[in-house]
Point group: C2
């Protein structure tokens, strides 16, 4: 059994590391490669799942005999999981039917409201977090949720199998699996940033320890940026008293390798997708909307860490401070809804809409609307917009990687200028050809937008080529191979 | 000219380091040792100024020929400064009459809303800080404000003088003074914590650099805790690319010593103050209020970092989880108003009042009000309460030192249990005899309150003696002497 590489010989392939995998491969992630909806008759329909992780891992073209363990995310998913034999909702996909209350507490209460917040430094510390009796119940649900994955993986893994556990939903699973199956090789990959120890220690002492010990159950842990890898290792040193030699964390007789594998995009797949009729069909409407103005584009989930409000404020400062850009720029902001189960996210979407309206009220003229904010998810339109953008704004407060910053340059038709937050993992690779900004500094971001809008076409074309090369250095197949190669 | 020690031979005195000061001494701080109010006729009346720094430095008994440079904080102060010759509002006190708009921008906009927030990790990062055109104006005001101090110090300092600059209001002054007067010896002391580099870098790049370079204009910088000193040095390394050998930061040919001087209390002065009639007069009323119940006490400014809301929530969890304490405890929370020029602080005071009311609504019985919240400043009553407290709760999110944790044990009459945040600088010295808590962990704080309330009198007496000894290890006079001794 092996993982097959999809590179097709088009670039230097690290297939050798893929071929090392001779024992079966198992993947584990909260969201799997399929999801279910009910059609008008109430029958279940299976669809390809969304989310960056699915694209990344599905892009790595797993052979059909690998097993992907994921969670049922909806009532339709749960119905599908219950009706499929042993939860196998699709070939090689096992969906876990977890109690909805446990799932909600683990997913919303802990993963998205606690672990996400701490590693993105998102807390309003004067008022949150509050770790009380309710958060203790949520933490027990998270332990249970992760343990259900560990149990499913332990049952499915053949002797000596390799298990790759993904992201902040499953930080305890490596250790829980290790305790059941000392024979398997375990990798963990974090798609988020990691907090410095002073901030990570906001977590209750037992939670902080369990998270780190859970991860150290793996033989190798991976991150998108050396910054996040270093922060993780420093937490192990400060919180657990572990040792770190720059490559391996040692604690209680176990050794865990800490590596950086910055996920890139697959240019062939991405360009093929962008050539599809639904994408091409969006181009004329977008061209009409932009006219002969420059297109300033941003594309994000309405996620607190994406920093959409300050982006709009920077655009306002641009139009105030450099009036020559009035009527010469159209700002398209695609901000598609995310995590609306959490009140902070609903409020944030409201704040985004409010600032966009204020900018339009202050500057709109007959025939020119400065901001077009769209809060619906239209992937085809996003891809079409990438090809037309003159300036791409990616200014997260903190971001594990950020693939928008990588997709834009790959799809750009006539070259673009990238204004990029230095707090995105992607800045590690893209910095030399981007206009880097401190995401909290709206004045600096406005200046960077001015510089980006002022850039010559030749400079854009040249920089975009370099950005695209850097963005495609480690496409999903190679990224997955690198995780496997990092295992002992 | 010299600084005289006030120890009176009562403990080992570091007078030798004081006697080293043979050149004139200058002190600089935002708030000085005197303030002014207008009486009913409109005439100016001079009073001793408030604030921890004033107590600390005034407690060090400066000789009359030292000069203290401070800012006019009110219209009455400004009147006094203008009418006094060269601003000498009292012997040895020069008050700077700054433009009120500049003062407001520097004090509220930068010092209290930016530098305080960043070093206490207080930002609600999804929405603040926003560094825009307004914050640029505020930053220029801060530069100007600090420069006015540097100018006044440069004019007043005799050749080879020693200048001690205090706190986060005056971070740029050391360098500004150094540029004018390379001959003087400059020390800076921070009474706040310091942020780790990942968080300090929220500041605009130029602001972050200027703050660090401003401090490095000093020959020695001091902090209350090695944690804050280390964080400062790491910021110099990460942000400036400076070198740090564990004692000295070297940058651009200059060397700045980084030291820790944990300010303590003067037990003689404190006990004398507590013996005064106004304090003693408060005792009967407090005894009546507490009755035969245990007194759980907290005393803070209504400051976001003091964590009063979570403290009340922990008390609620205590009453829910350990019903045996109902009607057996009275929680006195003295939370006197602070920084009500800032909307966050007004809202926070509202939140404190709301939670206190909720706890009383949930648990009050006939004859027992669980929480007595008082939001007025009554220093005499605070001192009286210290002497009666059974449990003292000090749970800041992050605190440079926290003198409440030190004053309580010194004034305790029959021994108290201290529940103390590990994020207070005071935890460095008091930890062995305190119930340490993670201030974000309300459940853990409730457990600690239960343990503290359950402690035996003999254990309390024993621990309180150890706490008091640790709390008085470096009283103000010795603390000031240590700052002087750290200078080259």
């Amino acid at each position: 059994m092996s993982v097959l590489c999809s590179c097709g010989g088009k670039r230097t392939c690290r297939g050798s590391s893929l071929r090392r995998v001779t024992a079966p491969l198992l993947l584990a992630s909260n969201r799997g490669p399929v999801m279910h909806v009910e059609d008008e008759t109430g029958a279940l329909v299976s669809r390809r799942g969304g989310g960056g992780l699915v694209s990344a891992v599905a892009g790595a073209s797993l052979a059909g005999d690998a097993l992907w363990v994921c969670a049922a995310l909806s009532e339709a998913d749960r119905r599908a999981a219950r009706s499929a034999e042993r939860g196998l909702v699709a070939p090689g996909v096992r969906m876990l039917d977890l109690d909805p209350v446990t799932f909600d507490r683990a997913y919303n209460g802990v993963a998205n409201s606690t672990l996400w917040f701490v590693n993105h430094l998102l807390y309003d510390t004067a008022s949150s977090p509050v770790f009380d009796a309710r958060s203790r119940r949520e933490w027990r649900a998270y332990q249970e949720y992760d343990d259900a994955f560990a149990e499913a993986l332990a049952r499915a893994a053949l002797p000596g199998a390799t298990v790759l556990v993904q992201d902040y939903h499953l930080m305890l699973t490596p250790r829980q699996l290790r305790e059941r199956r000392p024979d398997v090789r375990i990798g963990h990959f974090s798609h988020t940033p990691w907090a410095p120890p002073e901030y990570f220690s906001l977590l209750p002492d037992d939670v902080a320890r369990e998270v780190l010990l859970g991860m150290l159950g793996a033989d190798a842990v991976g991150f998108h940026s050396t910054r996040w890898a270093d922060a993780f290792a420093r937490c192990c040193v400060e919180v657990l008293g572990a040792a770190y030699d720059g490559q391996v964390v040692s604690y209680a007789g176990r050794r865990t390798r800490v590596s950086t594998h910055p996920l890139g995009v697959d240019p062939v797949e991405l360009r093929e997708r962008a050539a599809a009729p639904d994408v091409q069909g969006r181009l004329p409407g977008l061209r009409d909307l932009v006219g002969d103005r420059q297109l300033l584009l941003r594309i994000d989930r309405t996620e607190l860490s994406k920093n959409i409000v300050r982006g709009l404020e920077a655009y306002r400062e641009l139009l105030r401070g450099w009036p020559q850009w009035r009527e010469r720029v159209v700002h398209l902001a695609f901000a598609y809804p995310s995590r609306h189960d959490l009140p902070e996210y609903r409020e944030y979407t409201g704040a985004v809409q409010r600032v966009a309206r204020e900018v339009n009220e202050e500057f709109a003229t007959e025939g020119w609307l400065p901001v077009h904010l769209e809060v619906r998810d239209d992937y085809a339109r996003s891809l079409a917009a990438f090809s037309l953008a003159d300036v791409l704004l990616v200014n997260p407060l903190r971001d594990g990687m950020n693939l928008v910053a990588k997709e834009g340059p790959v799809l750009s038709e006539h070259g673009l200028s990238l204004v990029l937050s230095r707090q995105a993992g992607a800045a590690d690779e893209l910095a030399p050809w981007a206009h880097l900004v401190n995401p909290f500094d709206v004045a600096q971001t406005a200046e960077a937008l001015h510089a980006a809008l002022s850039e010559s076409t030749s400079s854009r074309v040249e920089r975009t080529a370099s950005l695209a090369a850097a963005a495609t250095a480690l496409p999903p197949a190679d990224w997955l191979a690198a995780q496997l190669a990092a295992l002992p």
